[in-house]
Amino acid sequence: MADVNRGNRPLSPHLSIYRPQIQMVSSILTRITGNALIVASVLVVWWLLAAATSPGYFALADGVLTSWFGDLVLTLSVWALWYHFVAGLRHLYWDTGRGFDLPTAERLGWACVGGSVLLTLLTVALV
């Protein structure tokens, strides 16, 4: 809390200065996917509410979710869900104090991208 140089300290480099690396991109994607999942959450809960209300209301919710736009939103959300899932596992692994050396961190970043795409394809094929 010393008053030396208050407010005139060097800033850390901003996004516009950094060359994108897999570590930063995979970290930002974790935040974006996690927060964007509220859209699918609201849609699915609305679909549940409609199912509990009446067949007529269910037809509306079902129509929206199975339309091309609903399909697009849900498919992207499935990817977002799996991405956030795999990236979350990466965080739990990091929390044990392992995997911080650069080659491993880079591999883990690509594993998040690859793993989420694989899981999304698996989900689209099975569900």
């Binding site: 927060n35 959450s41 509990a52 965080h91």
Partner: protein, 123 residues
């Protein structure tokens, strides 16, 4: 500013005694969701697009209903805590407070709506 001591400026800005609470609750809810999400996707997921009667019959069964209820409640608490961190990173002052309250109320509302729907389907 000249009349404030360093200690006075630091007071009320948070202490290390509580700093890990948020982190720990995110860790616990993330482990719960790491188990719940795959089960949710492969039990409830296939029901989207199915006829009304089938959806109602399926969600009246204990396992799908419990999985859906847990996923919605834990998911919304996890969302509330995560979205709060994002808001704290990008906004300040009154905007920050309004957004955090808004996101918290939204999370509670989605969780309550989901539980109400599941209760009505199951009973």
């Amino acid at each position: 500013m000249a009349f404030l001591t360093d200690r006075k400026r630091a007071q009320g800005l948070g202490s290390a005694k509580e700093g890990t609470h948020h982190f720990w609750s995110m860790t616990v809810s993330s482990i719960a969701l790491a188990i719940l999400i795959p089960v949710f996707v492969f039990t409830i997921g296939p029901m989207i697009g199915q006829p009304h009667a089938d959806v109602v019959a399926y969600l009246s069964r204990p396992f799908p209903a419990i999985v859906a209820g847990l996923t919605i409640v834990v998911g919304m608490l996890h969302f509330k805590n995560g979205a709060t961190v994002m808001i704290e990173d990008y906004s300040r002052d009154l905007t920050r407070k309004v957004l955090i309250v808004g996101v918290t109320l939204l999370s509670y509302a989605v969780a309550a709506t989901g539980l109400f729907a599941l209760a009505r389907l199951a009973l």
